[in-house]
Symmetry: D2
Subunit: 437 residues, 4 copies
């Protein structure tokens, strides 16, 4: 039998059981033979917990999949078929810093959006590029499925600076499909969604159920759109929604409802209960569960963690590639002109046709100014963020933050960055060398 080797970098993550469940449930069609779980020394204990749980799950399912847990990344990558990256450089402690420093300076503090996402990108991109070097050398024909946040920015860095066959994946799109299938009581296959945008900033410009447009139901407030559990929800003013003419994603609230969100965040900050604090708690509880020798499947509690349908999105994608199904998925890929108002080498999140050998975005063309203004601004920020991460340029970093729509002034951008830089020293080697700009 032919070897099909799946490598999970960041295998000690609390999300891994979800992924394993998917691999097990699709054993028949995918015939995955080996799953390698890789982590760093700091994650050794968690990795070991996950490894044991994985083996219990495999055993219960009676599935001949080999689980290998290792700290040797290169050994894992060698001859891999699919590589999944779901790492968190600096772990939750650094995420907490991202949030706290941002809010302290009066701007939104969020894992992927704004100053928080910026800092996470700076920590993460160099590590991902190192991983890609290994892939290029040891598994050049492998597909890399990047889940690591900020997924769009990280994937753009990989597209621009490596030759790895990469695709960025987020659980946001699949949740929209699930939600609308549920609303209209149809199969997911009967839902068509026209997405325009970039990761965590996609607009739905039309929505069809069995070929019939239903977007007006949402815009007029007759039915609901998908709301991620990890983002506060205040509902949308229908006058605003109708005039936008598109359904925003959850992350749009950080822009369109900036004031209200910031108000809430300031309270969380004062109470020391930001999202990072909450997640730290959830994580701890999850690993308590995972330790339980009697647990032999993904626990229900994991669904609270925020990554709903994450595994399903990943497994569906692997299936499409593996079986060359030529099906549609909503993915983060190189623009290449699909959205004509963004640079050709930008990473965008749009509908793509997945084939074994290539993933191709569908043509979108012109974008109306209601969407274009914000989209181009955030993409320019992302472009500068990738450049700052790769070059370690202080100047590029402060320019990136300054043009971000959630940061009001250059001086705020500079103060935030300088404080973040100090705390993140261990993760930002490039910047250390160039301090004086």
């Amino acid at each position: 039998m032919k070897k099909t080797k799946v490598v999970v970098i960041g295998g000690g993550s609390s999300y891994t059981p979800e992924l394993l469940e998917g691999i097990i449930n699709n054993y028949k069609s995918l015939q995955i033979t080996e799953v390698w779980l890789v982590d760093i020394p700091e994650g050794k204990e968690k990795l070991s917990i996950i490894e044991k749980l994985a083996n219990r799950m495999i055993k219960k399912a009676n599935c001949p999949i080999k689980i290998i847990a290792t700290l040797d990344r290169r050994d894992a990558i060698k001859d891999a078929t699919y590589i999944i990256t779901q790492i968190r450089v600096g772990q939750l402690a650094m995420r907490r810093n991202d949030e706290y420093i941002s809010i302290k300076h009066g701007v939104i503090g969020q894992e992927t959006t704004g100053a928080g996402g910026f800092m996470k990108a700076l920590r993460t991109i160099p590590v991902l590029l190192d991983i890609c070097n290994d892939i290029d050398e040891l598994a050049p024909s492998a597909w890399l499925l990047n889940f690591t946040n900020p997924a769009g920015i990280v994937t753009e860095a990989i597209i621009k600076h490596t030759n790895v066959k990469v695709v960025g994946l987020c659980n946001n799109p699949i949740n929209f499909y699930k939600k609308f299938a549920d609303t209209y009581n149809v199969d997911v296959r009967d839902v068509s969604i026209n997405f325009v945008g970039i990761n965590h900033l996609t607009w739905i410009t039309d929505l069809y159920i069995k070929g019939r447009s239903r977007i007006d139901d949402i815009l007029s407030g007759k039915s609901d759109s998908y709301e991620a559990k990890n983002i506060p929800s205040f509902g949308w003013d229908t006058k605003f929604l109708k005039s936008l003419g598109a359904i925003p994603c959850g992350y749009h609230k950080y822009y369109y409802q900036q004031n209200r969100i910031l108000q809430d965040q300031v309270k969380e900050y004062e109470n020391k209960e930001t999202r990072a604090d909450q997640v730290q708690k959830v994580e701890k509880e999850l690993f308590e569960l995972y330790r339980d020798q009697e647990l032999k499947e993904k626990p229900k509690a994991l669904e609270q963690r925020g990554g709903a349908y994450y595994s399903e999105a990943a497994i569906n994608l692997i299936k499409s590639i593996h079986l060359d199904t030529k099906e549609l998925h909503t993915l983060n890929v190189k623009n290449n002109g699909a959205i004509s108002c963004l640079p050709d080498d930008a990473c965008i999140e749009v509908n793509c046709v997945v084939e074994k050998h290539q993933i191709t975005p569908l043509q979108i063309g012109e974008v109306k100014p209601e969407i274009r203004g914000l989209l181009q601004n955030v993409k320019a920020y992302e472009e500068l963020t990738v450049k700052a991460a790769v070059t370690g340029s202080y100047g590029t970093a402060i320019q990136a933050l300054t043009i971000h729509p959630l940061i009001s002034s250059a001086d705020v951008a500079m103060r935030i960055f300088e404080e973040m830089l100090l705390v993140n020293r261990p993760y930002l080697h490039k910047f250390e060398l160039k301090e004086g700009i």
Copy 2:
């Protein structure tokens, strides 16, 4: 049961039995309830022959499809679900003129390429735009499947000047899929072809069998590409093919092997045996067959006519739309930026995802100069041809012909056009009004 009404404009065509066979064979999934065959008074006799044959075929297949033959186009179009156009304005007599006048002036004479295709476009576009007016009024939600040649130019005119949901269709792409499936002994689903270009001028930039690139087999001459039966074939020099780095389609011979083809055409011209002469003969024989009361299915001989898999392409497309399959088809659609070096409103022939409500091209992006030079030149010619047909401008017409790569000089363009204009008077009302330029 819901009515599904298919209208075939040019229903008296010798191709119709092939289409009927497809409709009958797919009755189970498509549930087409009515097929309307429309023609003009001059085609009344042929229409009647086809109508009778159709009824015999239906009867034999025991299929509850209603056949309606009519000369009342508006009656037919009303509330149609799918409309197929396969007309030949001026019939084969005018095609013969196109070929003879071209060759007489020393240039390639061909149904769709060069001066011949130009004149056919001028005759055809006004009629198709009239049909589209009817559709807009009487069946605004119908899909129009245009097979009428030159399919790319005609479809571009419809895209630019009407609101009809149109898609242009050619049997060339499906023949490539069939050919490569046959060569590699796989199912057609296992063949992936990257097409770049416009109707009758598409390059294959890569070819995959089960996800593995096999284009080099063709470029090196190890295996053959598809050769249409109605275009002479001299084979390709492998030095040329390798340096092109792409597989040309049959119609590329008119450009890359212009001299040899022209030499042959001059002989055919002298012997009065051009392609139009041959087709006239075949057509006559086919209708002899169709008259036979014992014939109750598509006769084998039809396959010689040149439209191999024409029906299969059409029926597959209708299936994808009707059942909202989101599958890939190679179609003529609005560019909208998919090929970034062509105008946004140009018609291109590329891979598309077909949904019930929309047909979307896959993004192609930049095209290399080996392909770009010829492609942009011919597209500019097509743009001017559409404009000439719509405005009846003598000046636009001679500029269109002058920049066509197969026409060597402006004076030749002018002489050809003036002679064609004279012969085509009955079909070119717009030009009549504006004679003096």
Copy 3:
């Protein structure tokens, strides 16, 4: 002698004496024969004061120029050679409202930038389009020099919706030339400035004195850039400036130093001393001066008003057109691809070659992301603003405001717009008709 007729729409403006001085000083080369001053009934008194002053100035200079003051706009426009528009719809009272309502809702309140400029555009565009209708009918070959603010947005509306030969003019660029000529003690002709951007948002990407780049002098703080007197100045952090790699214009402070400016504005608001209040006072004093029968030239005090070198810019431009000098001016014109990341039909402010028959921007090409992000965002806002003014769409208006970088949230945008709408009723006829969105 050939008639050369200059028409000043908004002739009762306090700026007019400056313009008259220019016309008088350049009488020899321009041979302007008639100056028509047009105003609306509400401005009758001011117009009369200006008319008398104008006649005293002409008389003193002993210049055979005929001054005609009129309320009949169409009479004035007829057969004009040059038309200058410098109107303020709703006068200073409405400007004051723009500032106060903005600041009250926590956002920058400014004549041309942000919510204030937005409301001014909505009041002004319909009036300018009416004027252009008259020009199209009565003086189709006249050049329209638009000074009316927000000059970029207003000019874009004229470019998109009329056929008038328009160019938008601002005194910002000429002040940079003057400033750098002064700094380096050279003639203005020895200064070359590469401008990129749009009106009131232009970056200087390089600066040359006699062919030698001197931008680093400014970026490093060694010498100063131009600071408009009507915008507060806090200086620039040189770390920020160096990393931007371009010299910002005065209006960039509203973005890059938003927080500090807003702080100051809130104080001015509380003290009822915003810019509008100051200007009202200055205006009053100026007209006191203008009434003085002994005043026979432009008074010094006018230079405090904010429009330094305004007349020189206008007269230089008229000279270049009139004498077909093919010289460089920095002007607001149709983009047409000059800045490739902005729409072709956008209005941009860049270096142009001025000929008698056409004004052509110099090619700029790609813009770096540090500049691009903000530029594209503000241009999308402007595009929506023009659309809102022309259509009277409530939805387009709130989308315009929402994507403006100085407005933090959609709800703020909506509240500001609704309050402004109420106050501006008399000037927004289109919106009145469509109130319910």
Copy 4:
């Protein structure tokens, strides 16, 4: 006094006396102190003749300019202010081959257009790139004025593959200005011409005399356009010209009147009297004249050579750069988006503003399809030609020739190239190494 050093590479050319005349006549404003004439050993004798003539001219004019003739190119280039390249790699013997081989295979044989120009580009580009290496090292701030043909293609190679400040120059545009100034009896400054295109393929889309459009005079045949003496002239059909809506340049005849020109060339070929034969004769006669010790100025006969106003164009350009005049010149520069339908890094020939530090094209934007089709095709050919010259790829070379509109078929392209390759061995080192493709 500051040194101003002009270097003429190909100083032994028969054109040099014209250039010297210009330098002498403008001594007052330009203050050129040294003129270096460089040539290769094979040109030693001619160089010496020119050197002596130069010194006689200088002496007669009583001008303190130092003339240095040398075979040491690097010595000449060192610290140069302006470098002019006017070389002919392979000399007239190779040009003769280019013409003869082309015509023999039934295609136009011409110095810069078609197969002849292609071969000249292949010989010339490697030499120019070597020269640019020297400039980069020894005179990085020098301006390179490239006159070497095919000037557009050669300049594109330099733009793409070096950092040298290059501008390509042709005498075609200046002749149009002179011709129209003459026709309308005005100063050259009163003529405005809108050029669109690339070297030797520029269309005039409008023509103004003192700001008034006069293009219709030419299009209707009322007055003549400029006709270069070295290209046959048959006049233009006014129906064709009006419908083109633009004035073609002389080289357009090779496309629009291909048949007639080819007919003439075949006769010249048979009589061994092609253009190369004629030029060889003229050259011989010129050098006879130059040897004459009594000759102390540019002889009248030189004007027959084909380069009318060549010197004036060059000297005017040097003047504009040297004196930072910011005037308009029609030059070959990097496109950078000025003509939006051509690649950004293509070389185009359009109106530019010349400053001491930069030469910037005026924005052109969209080009109508009548022009676009041919323009894009020829530019793609040029792009491939540059690539073939730089890489020595046989495959790229035959693709370049195949898509050229003047070469009818791929087999003809291959036969021509193979024969040319054989004859040009000494000049095509890159191709020698890679023979087997």
